[in-house]
Amino acid sequence: MNSSYGLLSPRGQALIFAALVLLIFTAFPFAWMASTALKPSREIFVTPPTLWPTQVTLDNLSRLFAETRFLTYFHNSLTVSFATVGLTLLVSVPAAYGLTRFRFQGRETIAGLILFTYMFAPIMIIIPFYVVMRFLGLTNTHIGLILAYTAFCLPFSLWLLRTFFQSIPLEIEEAAMIDGTRVQAVIYVVLPLALPGVVATGTFTFVLAWNDYIFARVLLSADELKTLPVGIADLYNASVVDWGMIMAAGLLVIAPVAAVFVFIQKFLVAGWGSGGVKG
């Protein structure tokens, strides 16, 4: 096996070296965060710094739970993110199916318009959005935030799902419809085939809602409603920065994202792998 890599050739060595550089550049900051999070307070500031904690402690974590509202923020983030995924898929799966399988006037125009709304960055819509939400009495509510995320995720979600539905051969669906109704064909044939696409879309939506800062910052002001990104930013802005606690918080925030990604890997590969994997 090893010989096929040609590890001992100069080219092989250069590859390994470049891979190590890339690994350190992307992964080391996370490792340093984890290391800091697991160190006792005095070890955090020693010179020379210890890359591997000489004494592993969960002190920072317990302080995070005891002294801050971290668990409340965590709960809020979970609620809002899952509700956003649910609402986005509920609206965009039928729409994407409708866009690919039914012929009607203006269909292409609608598809184009959807792509166009993709261009709006949060900063460009946040001001009028805030005014509208305030008028509707939805500022400082999770519902307002969920609506904001759904609106923001819809364009790319529709676009992504549309390409997945397009890649399902019509013949399969037509064959299924001969044996049953269209609804049955959709439930038993189309949706299972589109599942990788639905899962991928749901994942991207979740990550977007989970990571967002600006909408939550602007729309929420009550502390007990805040989501994690805003809660952590405020924790950082507190007078004296407690680095151990901040890093512990960071570690816990990325944990669900990491878990989702490990779980999702095979679906993503299924989505991207249509080009075939080399080697």
């Binding site: 096929s4 890599y5 092989g12 590859l15 470049a18 891979a19 690994l23 992307t26 992964a27 340093w32 955090i44 500031f45 609206v91 965009s92 039928p94 199916y97 409708g98 039914f102 012929r103 009607f104 006037q105 609608i110 959807i114 709304t117 261009m119 709006f120 960055a121 900063i123 460009m124 819509i125 009028p128 005014v131 509208v132 305030r134 364009p155 397009q166 890649s167 051969p169 019509l170 037509e174 419809m177 001969i178 109704t181 990550v207 990571n211 600006i214 994690l228 950082y236 802005n237 901040i246 890093m247 960071g250 925030v253 990325i254 994202v257 990604f261 991207w272 080009g275 994997v277 080399k278």
Partner: protein, 310 residues
Amino acid sequence: MAGGGRALSEPLPSVGSEPFRLPEAAVGILLILPAILLLLLLTLYPVLYGVWISFFNKHAFFPQQTFVGFDNYAFLLRDPEFWAAVWRGTVYALSTIVLQIILGVAAALLLNELFPGRNILRAIVIFPYVVPTVVAVIIWKWLLNSQFGLINYFIETAGLVDQPVSFMGKDWIMISLIIVSVWQFFPFVVIGVLARLQTIPEELYDAAKVDGGNAWQRFVHVTLPQLKSVLFVIVLLRSIWMFTKFDTPWLMIQGGGAETYIRTLPIYTYMRTFAYYEAGLGSAMAVVMFLALAGAATLYFRIWRREENL
């Protein structure tokens, strides 16, 4: 595009359980309606409303507003801080885009080669892009900390500097911001380019080898032309997103005194609206941002088309 443009053939033998049948088009429209309504209500309407209030002197919290015509826009033209913010935003966006593309393409080329641990590295490289911005920023603020930061420790012990560098100070904050942003966003380029690299037929390289091209020539004459279309899309999306990037610079500003040195246009827009409560002026800036981007995007498409036709 397998069958994308074709609708299911209409009359199929068994549609049994349905008591009556809606016309094809009606079903399609019904399925799309909720999505369209949400988009109209929550994206298109606010955008148009934003254009509307840019002509008013409007408080961000209170309902009162007075029509001022183009006054907000005229004010921006005369506002030196606006132009300074445009300049800072341009420096920030252009430098991060160039660095992301270079680093992203290089990393994708590497990850397309065969070496042990490649698949794990592919997963790890994507990670900075999927973590919340606030996490990326606090990690780097800790690494770049002037008193206890690891990077300062390394460059000091290596003898590169005599004194700790104040990375969040006025001389360095833009560079620090660029480093964080490139680290955070280059994986997007990797994903797109890597997906495309995997579809380049091996025969193209074999032919180039027969012709005696070296690695660099193969990259320039085989790989790069194949990457052109995907890079076009990546540059477009990354430009839109970097010019309108709010959270990374905003969170970098927090807790430091050098905020004015990275006050890009999105930051200035936010401050005018939510710190000075000038929603009308803030909206005018958002409109200007949109028009500038739309104009640039159109120009970009034009140039691209012309290139393609050559």
